[in-house]
C-alpha cells in the first residue's frame, strides 16, 4: 500500500480580512498524480504557495511522511524535497540548459572554477530520466515551449524532489507536447515522485491523474479517485462551480453578409506564406493549429504590426496596412494574446483603458471631456456586464475575464467592425469564459466580423462558423462548421492531411 507522503491539515489563510483558504485538508500519496482543480480564486495557488514556502499559513499543520514541518521560505521547501514548476517559465533564455539547472548552485572544481563537465553530465542524467534528448549546452531560448517545460521540470528534479508541484504546465503547450509531458509525469510517478497537477483542463485531469481534489471558495469541495469511479468532466465542472453547468451552445445559425476582409497570398518571411482567406460580415472565423503555425504573426500583419507581402482588401478596397493606426482606420481591432503584456495599460484605470484607442471621440476643442469619457466607459461596463464598482478603478484590480471585456470594449468604442481575438480566454475561469463566448456571439449577430485565434479546438467549435487550420505557416484547410471536429482539425494541424483546395 502506498504511503501518505504529505498531509496538510486545517490550513487557513486570509488576506486583508478575506479568507483565501478556510480549514483545507489535503493529502498526497507517494507516487501519485493528484489533480488540484478549482476556478480562479478558489485558493489553489494560495495552497501551493504555502507548500512552496512563499506564504505562511495563518492556521493549520503540515506533515511530511508523518513528521510535522514548517516551511518558512522557498529554500526550506526545496530542502524538504518539494519542487515547484511555476505557470510562467522561470528560465533564463540567454543561458544554456545546464547553466539554468545549476543557477545559483554551480558545481566548482579546482581553483574555484566552474566544473562544466560535471554539470553537463548531471544535466544529461536528469534529462535521460525524463526520456528527452536535449543538449545540456543548448541555449534555452532556442528550445520549443514543451522542451522548456521539461527543462523546468528537470531543474526541479535534479535536487531530488519527492513532491513536484506543477501549476498549469500545459497552457502554453500543444497536443503532442502535452502527451509528451504526461508521459514524463507518469514516469516520474513510477519513480515514486508524487505530482500535484494544477489545471483548468478537465479532460487532461481525467486522462493523467490518479486522484483529484476540488477547491471552491477556499475550502475542499470534493476529493476522490479518478480511476474506476466513472467520474466525468461534467462532474468535476459541477463540483468546481457548485452548480450544474448546462452544456451551453453559443453558436447561433444566422445569415452572413458580404465579404469584408480578403487576404490574398499573404506572406512574411519565416512566419507564414501564401495565405489567402476571406471573412464575411457577421462571421466568426476560427484559426487554429499548433504552436509556431504562424497564425499570430499572420494577424499581426493584418493589424499592421508586421511587414507582409501580398494583398489585403477591406470592403473590396486594397489597403496597405503598415501600422495599427491604419488598420484601425479601416475598422480592424486586435485583442492580442498575453493580455497583461500586450493589451493592458497597467497604470491606467478601467476608464482610460476603454477609451485609449479612440480618444478623438471625447474631444471638446483640444481637450478631453472627462465627463463624456466617463459616461461612455460606464455604458460599456453596463453593456458588457464588466464587474467593477467604479470605472476609475485600476485595470489591474479586475479579474482576467473582466480585463478581457475591457479590451473588447476598447475596440467596440474604437468602432472596429473586424475584431481579431488572439487566445481570448487565456487565464480566464470557466464562468467568465462562457460570458466571453456569449459576447462574441452577440457581437457577430450585430454584424461585427470576428476572427478567433486559439489552440483549444473545443473553444473554436463553440462559436465559429468556419475553422481555418494552419500548419507550418500555411492554411492547411478551411473547414465548414459541419465538417469541423476535433479529430478532423488535428489531422490538418499536425500535417497528417493537406487540403490543396484551401
Amino acid at each position: 500500500m502506498q504511503e501518505t507522503i504529505l498531509a496538510m491539515q486545517g490550513i487557513s489563510k486570509s488576506f486583508v480580512g478575506q479568507y483565501a483558504l478556510k480549514g483545507v485538508d489535503f493529502t498526497l500519496e507517494e507516487g501519485e498524480i493528484h489533480a488540484l482543480i478549482g476556478e480562479n480564486g478558489a485558493g489553489k495557488t494560495t495552497l501551493m504557495n504555502i507548500l512552496g514556502g512563499v506564504l505562511a499559513p495563518d492556521d493549520g499543520r503540515i506533515f511530511l511522511t508523518g513528521r510535522p514541518v514548517s516551511i518558512p521560505t522557498p529554500a526550506a521547501s526545496k530542502r524538504l524535497g518539494i519542487g515547484f514548476v511555476h505557470q510562467e517559465l522561470n528560465l533564463v533564455n540567454d543561458l544554456r540548459v545546464y547553466e539554468n539547472f545549476f543557477l545559483g548552485a554551480e558545481l566548482r572544481g579546482g581553483l574555484g572554477l566552474l566544473d562544466i563537465e560535471s554539470m553537463c553530465a548531471r544535466t544529461r542524467e536528469v534529462l535521460a530520466l525524463l526520456d528527452v534528448d536535449i543538449d545540456p549546452r543548448a541555449l534555452v531560448g532556442t528550445l520549443d515551449a514543451s522542451y522548456k517545460q521539461v527543462v523546468e521540470i528537470g531543474r526541479a528534479l535534479h535536487q531530488q524532489v519527492k513532491i513536484l508541484i506543477m501549476d498549469e504546465p500545459t497552457t502554453s503547450l500543444t497536443g503532442h507536447e502535452i502527451s509528451h509531458l504526461f508521459a514524463v509525469m507518469k514516469s516520474l510517478s513510477q519513480h515514486g515522485v508524487a505530482v500535484i497537477f494544477i489545471s483548468h483542463k478537465l479532460k487532461e485531469v481525467l486522462s493523467v491523474c490518479d486522484r483529484y481534489t476540488v477547491l471552491r471558495d477556499g475550502h475542499v469541495a470534493a476529493t476522490g479517485q479518478v480511476a474506476g469511479t466513472g467520474v466525468t468532466e461534467e462532474d468535476l465542472a459541477r463540483l468546481m462551480v457548485g452548480r450544474a453547468m448546462a452544456v451551453e451552445q453559443f453558436f447561433v445559425p444566422r445569415p452572413l453578409g458580404p465579404v469584408v476582409l480578403q487576404a490574398e497570398h499573404l506572406g512574411s518571411a519565416g512566419s507564414f506564406h501564401d495565405v489567402s482567406f476571406s471573412l464575411r460580415r457577421g462571421e466568426v472565423l476560427g484559426f487554429t493549429g499548433l504552436v509556431g503555425d504562424g497564425r499570430t504573426e499572420l494577424f499581426e500583419s493584418i493589424f499592421g504590426s508586421r511587414r507582409y507581402e501580398g494583398t489585403i482588401r477591406v470592403n473590396g478596397a486594397v489597403r496597405r496596412l503598415t501600422h495599427p493606426e491604419k488598420a484601425l482606420a479601416v475598422g480592424i481591432g486586435l485583442a492580442p494574446k498575453n493580455r497583461k503584456e500586450n493589451a493592458l495599460i497597467r497604470d491606467f484605470s478601467v476608464l482610460a483603458n476603454t477609451t485609449i484607442a479612440r480618444l478623438s471621440h471625447f474631444l471638446r476643442g483640444p481637450f478631453l471631456d472627462f465627463r463624456r469619457e466617463r459616461a461612455r466607459a460606464q455604458e460599456h461596463v453596463v453593456n458588457l456586464s464588466i464587474k467593477v464598482s467604479d470605472v476609475g478603478m485600476p485595470i489591474t484590480s479586475l479579474s482576467g475575464g473582466n480585463q478581457q471585456k475591457v479590451v473588447l470594449a476598447k475596440w467596440i468604442e474604437a468602432g472596429s467592425r473586424i475584431m481579431i481575438l488572439d487566445n481570448p480566454t487565456q487565464g480566464i475561469d470557466v464562468g467568465a469564459k462562457a460570458e466571453i463566448y456569449r459576447l462574441i456571439a452577440r457581437l457577430a449577430a450585430e454584424g461585427t466580423s470576428i476572427v478567433i485565434l486559439s489552440s483549444e479546438v473545443p473553444e473554436i467549435l463553440k462559436v465559429c462558423d468556419r475553422v481555418a487550420v494552419m500548419y507550418h505557416g500555411v492554411i492547411a484547410a478551411v473547414l465548414e462548421r459541419a465538417e469541423a471536429t476535433e479529430e478532423s482539425i488535428m489531422l490538418y494541424a499536425t500535417g497528417a492531411r493537406k487540403d490543396a483546395s484551401a
Binding site: E325, E341, N342, L344, R346, A352, I356, L363, L368, K410
Partner: protein
C-alpha cells in the same frame, strides 16, 4: 485595530478622505512642507523672509522650466541628457541671429526652432534608430557641447540689444519675470499632460509601450513629439538664461542642468521607468531642490557639500517610492 486599518478608515472618510488620498498620491508636497519646516528651524528668519523666498523661486525657474519637459520625457519611458548642452548651443545660435539681424523675435524664434530641432534629432535617433534614450541623448549632449565650444571658439557670446535684457530682468510685485514663466509653463504642461490625447498617450507609452502600439497609437510619433516639447522647454530656458546674463558661455553655461532636472523629476515622484508621475510633483521637486540649496547656503555650509546632500535626498526619495 492596527495602523493600517486606521489609515484605511481615514482614507475612506467622507471629509478627510479626499485630502488624505491627494496627499498620499502627492507625498512630495508633504516632503516639501517638511523641508520648509526644517529650513525655517535651521536657518530661521533669513530663510522665511519675503526677499529670500522670491530669490529661491527666481533661481529655480530655469531648471524648473527644463524639468517640465524632462517630466514628460521620463513619463514616456525615456530620458534626456542633452538639455544642458542643448541650452548653450540653442542660446548661442539665438543670440548670434539676434546680433546679426537686430531682431529679438527672430533670435527667440531661432532658439525655439533649434530646441525643438534638437528634440527632433533625439527622438528620431531613439525611434528610427532604436537607440536607447540614455545613449542617444548622451551622444547629442556631447555633440551640442562640442559644437558650441567650436563655434564660440571656447568662449562666449553676448547680446548687443539692450531690450533683450528686459525679458528676464524685471518684476511684478517684487516677483521676477522668470518665476511667472515657470508657473505659467507648469500650468500649461499640466493641462497638456492631463487633458489632451497626446498627454494621455505619453503616459500610456511609458506604462506599456507594446500595448500602446497594439492600441493603434503611433508610438514613434508621440515619442518624437515628446522630445520636441522637451527641446522647446530647453529653448525657453535658454531665452531666460541668456537674457538674464545677456550672454552665454560655451564652457560653463548649462553645466549639470540635466542632472538637476532629472533629480527634480525623480524627487517629484515620477517613476524612472515611465508611466507614472505628474508635473505638479516636479514643480515641488524643483522647489525642494531650491530650498535645499538656499538653506545650506544660509547656514554657511560649504557649497561643495551641497551635492552630497542633494544626492542623499534623491536616493531617499527613490527608496520611499519603492516602498509605495
Amino acid at each position: 485595530m492596527n495602523v493600517r486599518s486606521t489609515y484605511l478608515k481615514v482614507r475612506n472618510h467622507r471629509v478627510w478622505g479626499p485630502v488624505v488620498r491627494f496627499l498620499a498620491d502627492n507625498s512630495v508636497i508633504l516632503a516639501f512642507v517638511a523641508m520648509v519646516i526644517v529650513a525655517t528651524i535651521l536657518a530661521g528668519d533669513s530663510f522665511m523672509s519675503q526677499a529670500n523666498i522670491i530669490n529661491i523661486l527666481r533661481t529655480v525657474s530655469i531648471i524648473g522650466i527644463i524639468s517640465l519637459g524632462m517630466t514628460l520625457i521620463i513619463i514616456s519611458g525615456g530620458i534626456d541628457l542633452s538639455v544642458g548642452s542643448a541650452l548653450v548651443l540653442v542660446g548661442a545660435a539665438g543670440i548670434w541671429v539676434m546680433n546679426e539681424t537686430g531682431s529679438i523675435p527672430l533670435g527667440m524664434l531661432t532658439m525655439l526652432v533649434g530646441g525643438a530641432g534638437v528634440g527632433f534629432i533625439n527622438g528620431t535617433i531613439i525611434t528610427r534608430g532604436r537607440v536607447t534614450p540614455f545613449i542617444a541623448t548622451l551622444g547629442v549632449m556631447a555633440t551640442c557641447r562640442s559644437l558650441s565650444l567650436y563655434l564660440l571658439n571656447g568662449g562666449g557670446i553676448s547680446a548687443n540689444l539692450p531690450a533683450y535684457w528686459a525679458i528676464s530682468n524685471g518684476d511684478i510685485l517684487g516677483i521676477s519675470y522668470p518665476v511667472f514663466y515657470f508657473i505659467l509653463l507648469t500650468a500649461l504642461v499640466l493641462l497638456f499632460s492631463q487633458r489632451t490625447p497626446l498627454g494621455r498617450y505619453i503616459y500610456s507609452i511609458g506604462s506599456n509601450e507594446k500595448a500602446s502600439h497594439l492600441s493603434a497609437i503611433n508610438v514613434n510619433r508621440v515619442k518624437v513629439i515628446t522630445y520636441m516639447i522637451g527641446g522647446a522647454m530647453v529653448a525657453v530656458a535658454a531665452m531666460v538664461e541668456t537674457s538674464r546674463l545677456n550672454s552665454v558661455s560655451a564652457a560653463s553655461s548649462g553645466q549639470g542642468y540635466e542632472l538637476d532636472a532629472i533629480a527634480a523629476v525623480i524627487i517629484g515622484g515620477t517613476r524612472m521607468s515611465g508611466g507614472k508621475g505628474t508635473v505638479v510633483g516636479t514643480f515641488f521637486g524643483v522647489l525642494i531642490l531650491g530650498v535645499l540649496n538656499n538653506m545650506l547656503t544660509l547656514m554657511g555650509v560649504s557649497p561643495f557639500v551641497t551635492g552630497t546632500v542633494k544626492g542623499i535626498i534623491i536616493i531617499v526619495s527613490v527608496l520611499v517610492q519603492k516602498k509605495e
